[in-house]
Subunit: 222 residues, 2 copies
């Protein structure tokens, strides 16, 4: 039987955190990818994309790889014991427990990042230490069975790294070619270090409310 990937699909997920690694994983030879949530009712992403989970927590198999994406909906997960328990149970069986973007905060809240090197979206990076994690500014960070990725689009680099780890470099390269992943960003504004101060300020302002809520949640629980 091929590799089984499970990706957490929750309300107000940042859908590209989920759909980018989904496409990489699903392109791997023999792989199965399932969106997993509490139930199989429709879920809307933070940008309103409507998606359908494939399997419920109760019916989920022991995934080889569990992936937790990020987004505004992460805040609710930080105090959602049902979801945190599901992540912990899967972590006991999975080869890799992984995250994209602020999904790593969920891994942290589940107690999985203690003493582990990890990363997350640039605007949440300083929050990692509240979970006892060792923050690392890289796009993909592996520490034993935990693999975390940076913000949103890093999910593609991450997906290829995970496939290379599990199925070898050639398989990952075949997928990279199939997805024509030879990126050519039209601008150089992808990190706070390269973007202009005005762009950094505007980006921070747009996510300030979610960030403030998150600080309060983590402050309470850390």
């Amino acid at each position: 039987m091929g590799l089984q990937f499970g990706i957490l699909c929750f309300p107000d997920v940042q859908q590209l955190d989920m759909t980018a690694p989904y496409e990489v994983f699903a392109s791997a030879r023999g792989a199965t990818v399932q969106l997993v949530w509490k139930n199989r009712g429709p879920v809307r992403s933070s940008t309103s994309l409507g998606m359908t989970p494939d399997v419920s927590f109760a019916d989920a198999p022991a995934f080889d790889v569990l992936c937790v994406p990020g987004g505004g909906g992460v805040n609710a997960l930080l105090r959602d014991e049902e979801t945190l328990d599901f992540v912990r149970r899967q972590a006991q069986m999975a080869r890799f427990v992984t995250s994209v973007c602020t999904g790593s905060l969920v891994l942290g809240q589940a107690g999985l990042l203690s003493g582990r090197r990890a990363t997350t979206h640039w605007n949440a990076h300083d929050l990692l230490s509240a979970f006892g994690a060792i923050p690392v500014k890289e796009r993909v960070v592996r520490d034993g069975p935990i693999i975390t990725a940076g913000g949103v689009t890093s999910g593609i680099d991450f997906g290829l790294a995970v496939v290379a780890e599990l199925l070898g470099r050639e398989e990952a390269e075949i997928i990279q070619l199939t997805l024509e992943y030879a990126p050519a960003p039209p601008f150089d504004a992808g990190t706070p270090e390269t973007a202009s101060p005005a762009v950094v300020a505007a980006a921070k302002a747009r996510i300030a409310r979610s960030r403030a809520e998150r600080e309060a949640l983590i402050g309470i629980t850390s």
Copy 2:
């Protein structure tokens, strides 16, 4: 009223062709993105992601930007007059008619690429001339109101270029930073020119059946 983006959501679409520009467009100030299809019943992508269209052809507004993604399901669209008519009607009103990956073949079949510079996935590039298009090997190609993108992941570069065109460079840079789009592919296999011959052969073999079907369809109609 903000910009209205419509993205064609059809059975066996390559979901990342759709979800990548979706996330870029949906992050733009005041923008609305809707998945549009014949009806609002659930649709499965080529890799089995379940999605829900937001609006039917009959109820769709005149979109400012129509985007046609690619994937295996494109083959059925090449002889689907209902869909081709919808694309033609929207094209008369839209500021930009666009495609990602093999979605450009649908634009071609709808008669919109005649005499136009255009691109598509590397494995379909030679098919563009059958529609009277001028094939260009670039990741994002604009010719008047037609903007076409290369394979799958080029939809991110494309999305940012479209936002820059419509809302200015700073808005596109804010989105690039929010999505942390500073790509770092782990390998250099994203194009047939950089991938090894073995990887190119394996990638071609995986999509050979769809390609053969497509050749037959285009041969018949061109």
